[in-house]
């Protein structure tokens, strides 16, 4: 297991490094002088030259790359032009909000889609299957921002207890200082009012963000369950008289859960991408909101920082899934140790 995880971690680190280099290259081949973009069209040639010197843009490209990578390794993402603070501290400030939203989304996705997928496969071709099928289709096809707007609209008329912007009622005096996650910190601090309020604020954005994944994972769970159900060992288990309920959960779901988990990992980047729109609509104070603002301002350092942090998110999510897969499937642990 340790061996298999080390191997996965190494390859994911390679992905991160590759991502960093790729972003650097893209940032350099983009037409236009970064210093000029940063200072705007009104700056004088002298100012631009000075900034170029300061940003190290006159060094050879590989020296720049080296400085940039060394900086990254030390957690230095440069300065934001928008806030003129280090990008790292801006991101760290916005990170917990995004983390809380994404975590809530993933929990929603898993807890809704896998049971529904199992249900649909169990009652295959019945009305239950058809209804879940329509639900999953709607989840997949409705654009995140359209759903977000519809939810806001519904909230403003019908579900007025769910606020449509922000993360916490400003009248509640609370600083999430321990983990940065409101739901956890409020419990630690013994503030049920904050906990409930945070939950109210989290609900709509999390639904808007989760919908697409719910549909997709539900569909994949269903088809994986049906595929596993046709395998010989399931027929054998039935013939030996193992109850259908046990076959469904211990025998089929365990094998079938590999596919939806893998997809969750692969689609994680898309999830973060969609968070950009959802955070934007709900004015959620996360890195995606920060990202959109900085992108609109052509704040290159901040944009690079946001993309890299998203990459780190992706890597962490996939490592977590690898651990889960290792627990579920002994072949990952044992084969991983034997050969490639």
């Amino acid at each position: 297991m340790a061996f298999y995880l080390t191997k996965r971690a190494l390859s994911l680190l390679m992905v991160l490094l590759g991502l960093a280099v790729m972003i650097f290259v893209i940032a350099r081949i983009v037409p236009g002088d970064p210093a000029r973009i940063a200072l705007g069209p009104l700056a004088t040639a002298n100012q631009v030259a000075e900034l170029r010197q300061e940003m190290g843009l006159n060094d050879p490209i590989y020296v720049q790359l080296w400085h940039y990578l060394v900086g990254l390794a030390q957690g230095d993402l440069g300065k934001s032009l928008l806030t003129s603070r280090p990008v790292m501290s801006d991101i760290l400030q916005a990170l917990p909000a995004t983390f809380e939203l994404v975590l809530a989304t993933v929990i929603l996705q898993i807890s809704i889609s896998i049971p529904l997928g199992v249900l649909a496969a169990y009652y295959r071709d019945s009305w239950i299957d058809n209804i879940t099928r329509i639900l999953s289709l709607l989840g997949v096809v409705i654009p995140g921002f359209v759903l977000a707007i519809i939810l806001q609209l519904l909230a403003s008329y019908y579900f007025t207890s769910f606020p449509v912007t922000g993360r916490l009622d400003p009248s509640l005096d609370f600083q999430a200082n321990t983990t940065g996650l409101l739901l956890i910190d409020s419990v630690i601090a013994g503030r049920p009012d904050v906990f409930i309020d945070a939950l109210r604020y989290l609900f709509l954005p999390a639904i808007a963000l989760a919908a697409g994944g719910i549909g997709q994972v539900m569909r994949i769970t269903r088809s994986a369950m049906i595929e596993v159900g046709s395998r010989d060992f399931i027929e054998a288990a039935r013939a030996y008289g193992i109850p259908e309920r046990v076959i469904t959960f211990r025998y089929m779901l365990r094998v079938a859960s590999v596919a939806p988990l893998t997809i969750l990992g692969l689609e994680f980047a898309s999830l973060i991408g969609n968070a950009f729109v959802v955070e934007f609509v709900f004015s959620w104070p996360g890195i995606a909101s920060y990202g959109v603002r900085t992108i609109l301002q052509k704040d290159l350092n901040a944009v690079i920082g946001v993309v890299l942090v998203s990459g780190v998110f992706f890597v962490i999510a996939n490592l977590t899934i690898d651990v889960l897969l290792g627990i579920i499937d002994p072949r990952h642990r044992i084969r991983g140790a034997q050969k490639a």
Partner: protein
């Protein structure tokens, strides 16, 4: 002919031709039927927008202050926007942008992705390592963030949005084709072609590619919906098509400023987007069931 041979020929199954089977599955598949009807209607709407639109003048920078913010009615099926333009007519024209984006993006990304996937799966070794590690890296990038960054730096417009989406899209096709080809490589027909002296080009494009076609067609159909979604999201954030060109994402974005009172201004174009995506998805699903492929 020996008696044994006759026996073998008698054993030939009384099968339907593949075309008959496909047609049977199609007629039994509501997803495929509804999906293709929707997709056809979207194409018709886009192509004949000037003739089908109830208020064709709304396509441009037309202003009609008397009718601004009108709710849906017989006159204005989807209502009107903040300057009194008919949202239904603008939605029809909006499909032109959406479909143009689909054709532009998939027309480049799909052949490119397929070629790389074929190469990675067929050659293996170093070629596989480089291509697949590169797609792994691309996979870690949030596509919307990347597209935002690219369009922001290059200045936002339709062409740049198309470039940004294309740059990200090919990886999914590469991965799909790679997986299929990897599985096909253990089939003897690949080795048989090598023994017959076939060229690499022949094996990749004549032997392996036909075995990917059903998966590709399902994927392309599903993709078309997602490209529309993606383009609309870009426009919604102000980084895609710029006004006054009638684009559905931009329309939702502008309309959302008048929520909740004039809800139709955001919801109706949103529904138009949904309709198109739904069509491509149903079609893709239907094709998947018909051709029995896993993506």
């Amino acid at each position: 002919m020996s008696s044994h041979t006759q026996l073998d020929d008698a054993r030939q199954q009384r099968t339907l031709t593949s075309r008959q089977m496909a047609w049977y599955r199609f007629t039994r598949n509501p997803s495929a039927i509804i999906g293709s009807l929707i997709v056809i209607s979207v194409f018709v709407a886009a192509i004949f927008a000037p003739y089908l639109a109830t208020h064709p003048e709304s396509a441009g920078a037309h202003v009609d202050f008397i009718n601004r913010h009108s709710p849906p009615s017989w006159e204005f099926w989807f209502g009107t926007d903040n300057v009194g333009r008919d949202i239904f007519s603008r939605s029809l024209f909006g499909y032109r942008i959406s479909l143009g984006l689909v054709v532009g993006v998939l027309g480049v990304a799909v052949p490119f992705g397929i070629t790389l996937g074929l190469m990675a799966g067929y050659f293996g070794g170093r070629v596989e390592f480089i291509i697949m590690r590169f797609t792994d890296i691309m996979l870690a990038v949030p596509p919307l963030a990347m597209a935002l960054a690219i369009t922001a730096v290059l200045s936002p417009n339709l062409i740049n949005a198309m470039i940004a989406i294309t740059l990200l899209w090919w990886t999914w096709h590469t991965r799909l084709i790679y997986r299929i080809v990897k599985a096909q490589m253990s089939e003897d027909y690949v080795e048989a072609a090598k023994v017959a002296g076939a060229s690499h080009f022949h094996i990749m494009f004549r032997e392996l590619l036909p075995n990917c076609v059903s998966a590709i067609s399902v994927k392309v159909s599903l993709d078309a919906g997602f490209v529309i979604l993606f383009g609309a999201a870009l426009s919604f954030l102000g980084l895609g098509v710029q006004p006054p060109t009638p684009d559905l994402g931009t329309m939702v974005s502008t309309g959302s400023e008048y929520l909740p009172e004039f809800w139709w201004e955001a919801v109706m174009p949103g529904m138009a987007i949904l309709y198109a995506i739904l069509g491509f998805n149903l079609l893709g699903d239907g094709l998947r069931d018909m051709m029995d492929v896993e993506l």
